[in-house]
């Protein structure tokens, strides 16, 4: 790929965004429903749009922007259990993701180390890993709710189970593929098993392990939204579903944008950590 000027890329990105928002504005301002006459009492009960048989119009960009601004300026309000600021909901989701991810890392990295070092263990555990890995994490949810009996802990478990596999497999692969000559160096220097593990194998496998962690956090952030839609209560997933029940599309769009931004930030943090441990051969 040829190097391009970042200014040009940025200008093009802004142009594309302006085109998209413009098209959105145009389509939302023309698509007005017919104002049919309805029983005012029925309208008061189910809402004007439902009473006339029409649809709630999709919010225009300006309405969404106004809603985003409201959320950003007041992210942490609490007005009862079903009406809390978007910042609080995101914080709940983030806390669950980080808890599940950390637990997964604490298990997956040492276990992956052992699997990578021992072909016997690899052979013994590989069938289990291959069967468990493709299971949708949400399929575990009923079992988690049945055994744990706590919806919040259950969603942490779901995050744990979905983020454990990439870290486990990448750690095992990274450890198993450490160059033989580096291990030979450690052997000729009479390094202890512990010193070899921490001073040779860990730095050698670190970029692969970090890549696994990066994949894991991405998956965890995808799954938390779905998990919270299921268990409800708190979290950004619950917020999205609650606003769908409220037919508040502007809130949903806001949440979607913020989910994207936070996912990107999480990914970039792990990408930075990956670069920090990367080495060139």
């Amino acid at each position: 790929m040829r190097a391009t000027r970042p200014v040009a890329s940025l200008a093009l990105a802004c142009l594309l965004l302006a085109l998209f928002v413009g098209a959105w504005q145009l389509s939302s301002s023309t698509g007005l429903g017919t104002a049919a006459v309805a029983d005012p009492e029925y309208a008061a009960l189910v809402g004007a749009a439902a009473a006339t048989g029409g649809q709630t119009p999709f919010p225009s960009p300006i309405e969404v922007a106004a809603r985003i601004w409201e959320h950003i300026t007041d992210p942490f309000y609490v007005r009862g259990t079903n009406d809390q600021g978007i910042g609080i909901q995101l914080a709940y989701s983030l806390a669950r993701v980080l808890a599940g991810f950390t637990l997964a890392a604490l298990l997956a990295i040492p276990l992956g180390f052992l699997i990578g070092m021992s072909p016997l263990l690899y052979g013994a555990l590989n069938p289990f890993i291959q069967v468990l890995r493709p299971i949708s994490p949400l399929a575990w949810m009923p079992l988690a709710l049945y055994t744990i009996r706590d919806s919040s802990v259950s969603s942490i478990f779901v995050i744990f189970i979905c983020s454990v596999w990439p870290m486990l497999l990448n750690t095992a692969f990274g450890v198993a593929t450490v160059r033989k000559e580096w291990l030979n160096v450690a052997r000729t220097l009479e390094c202890s098993a512990l010193r070899t593990a921490f001073r040779v194998i860990l730095p050698a496998a670190a970029p692969t392990i970090m890549t696994g962690m990066r994949i894991s956090i991405g998956i965890a952030w995808l799954v938390i939204v779905a998990a919270e839609m299921l268990v409800g209560g708190t979290g950004i997933g619950y917020f999205v579903w609650n606003q769908w029940n409220n037919l508040s599309l502007a809130d949903i769009v806001t949440a979607i944008l913020l989910i994207g931004v936070i996912g990107m930030v999480l990914d970039q943090i792990l990408a930075m950590a990956t670069r920090a441990v990367a080495y060139q051969e």
């Binding site: 000559e181 030979n184 160096v185 052997r187 000729t188 220097l189 009479e190 001073r199 080495y279 051969e281």
Partner: protein, 301 residues
């Protein structure tokens, strides 16, 4: 029988046959010794098991038969006393040049303080002329500089024996020559016992006290031991003017081109694995030259 400092006693290496074929013997019944302070080179074609022999000496590989005895003890694994300079330099790429050497220093002296380690590193870095590049990672170093770090790392554990597996074969001719002379100087100064695998005839003549000539595999054997009688110190600049140099060189080249293959199947009847014949092509030639010049005082024009 008196044992040399390093005594290789009847080692063999076999690989299991693929799909029912009989096992392949790379080499068997190999006997040789290295005296303390001696520089021994092993020359042979690829796949005669040279690297395997070095790995067995290093303790990284095991022999299927026989044993290696160092200073009266049979070895059973790698040791800090036997340092290896790897062909591919094998530096740890996430550490700087200094970090790689420090890793070795700390292996030998785990109780040393940070300052002591740093001081020792500086000494080794200076010795191999890398002061300007100490903080660089291996990826930023040229091939020759990487191998200098490899040499410094091997020396930094103060070994008794230095094992080298074609250490300069990946370098360009100019760098190779410089490094050969530095190894020559360092080994002479430190009085290390050295064992080097090479396929470079000039390298062997420059560095070695004795040269083992190995026949082609499978079932490779040490056909001859050449005693290098060329006087030390030798340098690349004048070694080829020494009397007997060309006879020595021709003898080895002839062996590599022709006899290594011919002898592979059938060793002469007087040859035995435990007492490989020694030859001194350079000394024989030098005496003949001296005799000729004594017989005819006036040199032919």
């Amino acid at each position: 029988m008196r044992r040399p400092f390093v005594s290789v006693e009847g080692i063999a290496r076999r690989f299991p046959g693929v799909s029912g074929a009989p096992p392949q013997t790379v080499f068997a019944d190999l006997w040789f010794g290295i005296e303390e302070g001696e520089f021994l080179c092993l020359i042979g074609h690829s796949d005669c098991g040279k690297t395997t022999i070095l790995n067995i000496l290093a303790g990284l590989d095991h022999a299927d038969d026989g044993a290696v005895v160092v200073a009266g003890r049979e070895i059973d694994g790698p040791s800090l006393d036997r340092a290896v300079i790897f062909q591919s330099h094998a530096l740890l790429p996430w550490l700087s040049a200094e970090g790689n050497i420090a890793f070795a220093v700390r292996s030998r002296h785990p109780d040393w303080s940070r300052a002591q380690v740093a001081e020792a590193c500086r000494r080794w870095i200076d010795l191999v002329g890398l002061s300007a590049a100490a903080a660089k990672r291996p990826a930023q170093l040229s091939g020759g500089m990487k191998q200098r770090v490899g040499i410094a790392r091997a020396l930094a554990v103060s070994p008794k024996i230095l094992l080298m597996d074609e250490p300069f074969s990946a370098l360009d001719a100019l760098t190779r020559g410089t490094l050969q002379e530095e190894v020559n100087r360092i080994v002479a100064e430190t009085k290390l016992t050295a064992f080097m695998i090479t396929h470079d005839v000039d390298e062997a003549i420059l560095l070695a006290d004795r040269i083992l000539l190995m026949t082609n595999g499978p079932e490779a054997k040490i056909a001859e031991v050449i005693v290098n009688t060329l006087p030390r110190p030798r340098t690349r600049h004048d070694i080829h003017h020494l009397p007997g140099y060309y006879e020595l060189r021709n003898h080895i080249v002839d062996f590599l081109i022709d006899r290594s293959r011919r002898l592979a199947g059938a060793m002469p009847p007087e040859w035995t694995a435990r007492a490989v014949p020694e030859v001194r092509p350079a000394a024989t030639a030098a005496t003949r030259h001296a005799a000729e010049s004594a017989a005819s005082p006036r040199r032919p024009a």
